[in-house]
Symmetry: C2
Subunit: 362 residues, 2 copies
Amino acid sequence: MVYSIVTGKRLMETKIHSSLRTVEWKDNVVVMIDQTRLPNELVYVKYTDYKDVADAIRNLVVRGAPAIGVSGAFGLALAALQSKATDKESLLKDLEQAKKILFETRPTAINLAWGLEKIMNIARSGKDASEIRNNVIKEAKAMAEEDIEINMRMGKHGSQLFHDNDTIMTHCNAGALATVAYGTALGVIRATKESGKKIKVIATETRPVMQGSRLTAFELKYDGIDVSLIPDTAVGYSMANGLVSKVIVGADRILHTGHVYNKIGTYQVAMMAKQHNIPFYVAAPLSTFDMKSAPSDVVIEQRKASEVTRVAGKKTAPDDINVINPAFDMTPPELITGIITEVGVAKPPFEESIKKLFEPKL
Amino acid sequence: MVYSIVTGKRLMETKIHSSLRTVEWKDNVVVMIDQTRLPNELVYVKYTDYKDVADAIRNLVVRGAPAIGVSGAFGLALAALQSKATDKESLLKDLEQAKKILFETRPTAINLAWGLEKIMNIARSGKDASEIRNNVIKEAKAMAEEDIEINMRMGKHGSQLFHDNDTIMTHCNAGALATVAYGTALGVIRATKESGKKIKVIATETRPVMQGSRLTAFELKYDGIDVSLIPDTAVGYSMANGLVSKVIVGADRILHTGHVYNKIGTYQVAMMAKQHNIPFYVAAPLSTFDMKSAPSDVVIEQRKASEVTRVAGKKTAPDDINVINPAFDMTPPELITGIITEVGVAKPPFEESIKKLFEPKL
């Protein structure tokens, strides 16, 4: 039986929206789900030292861009409490040191830098050590709440695109476990279910890191959403056999032209959807948009070979084999039916509709 | 160091075409590569009891349709030697008993039934026990040689379609390890290399059973062919980034209309190839063609969930998750550039060209 750290109640009975809270601030303690132990065990870990939070980010106890951003902010809040400084200047020095250690855990994650910088700005504007401590904790907590809020607004907009008896394919994990709670793509799926529509989900395994089988299948099953797992090779089969009515995925970066960078394999799922006339949606907050870069500017991270040659520590390929292991691929705008954000849904032509997402509503 | 069971010489030094011989008859002993131990160890096992050959087929020590057909025939040859019968009738009775045990190991494999029946027909036509024993062994050995012969003819036809500096993507294992030696799709790759052209191969991992990483990557690396492994999710990325010039796969069944049934994932590789204007070839012997069935007649085998939820015995998904795990998918003729056989290459329109493959050459 799993009990909530927060309420002490059984989670399966008390769930509202999603019972999984990836990262949380509770009585000056940071509480996280240890994602390295999923799907085998659901274990919550508690941290009171920011260096332990840094280790948690480094070791993928927490992963997913929005979740990492908030975890970094919580790390700084712990650092503010840990610091023995009594004046503003000394406290800011301690916070800068903590920021450096937290940032270096995953230096390429944009959201981490964003979360840390947001907290540092709040700290710098405080008038004394006591006010800074209060404001930093308040802001970090607000960032966590805002992440959930954004996901729920995204869910509300997105749910209107999904219908009763839809079977929705998703790739990778853009779920509660990638955010503070609720999720982006899986948030839309949760909102669709909450709106009273009966839906099913097909989750791709998502090799090599298996976020689909380890995380998406876990969190949807945990929340009582009907989910079936497929190997990544069965995307075409599932679509050709009429098993899929819509697709939704998250995004790691979206360009102003509508080019979407997401987990490796997204592009071929989108292409197969197009060929079978299946709508393909992307769900991501406005913070995912990169309004400056062109596709030629985006460098795709290549990851280590052992992700492909080993599974859960077991060797599955010959020693010293060449491996091509890109973390992401690019889905061109012509394969995308709509991009769901917290302020509405952008539809083609994306260059215009994405620009409108950022215009202030009158 | 690995030495040939047959010649005693180091295989890496003595290889002709392919150094891997999946199954072989040597001095009244059946010698097989134990494929369950690949890619970790290359181990040859020896059998003198047909019941051990039956176990080997059942436990996937040997797999791949052509390899299983010949293994069944070798099993019957062992049974003929083991039988104490001195008259034709008693020997045939013993062979029928052995045939039953061998057949039941993998009852859906068409090639196994075909191989066993071919040997039984030879046995029935023998005039006495001694002649039957001789003929059965002779025929089983001839079947093995014929399999290699067919693959090499296929390779010769196919190699003309591939060019210097091609990078060839392949899915699953249609290699030496699926046949007696040399392979079908990988036989074409071997023949292309032997013709003096410089080529590289990209092998997909081929989840869930990982024949690509375990077998294809192993056998190509073993034979000194430049091979890179990718997760199945990186097919689109590889093609979009210009890393693939041609695709070649094997087939489990080809209809007279040109519909190709092959390992799950083949369909989406073919579709992605089409979208990137990359030629997509299928290599298979005439024995793979099913000239009677329509696509609606073909039932696709669903395999057990644990192939998807566990890798090498390690759990990678939640308990009791729903799984969709089809063994094969169907690639429609419009995605196929050519079908390479031992008598030539069929090109679209396939209904006509496949018919011509079976017409006697004048």
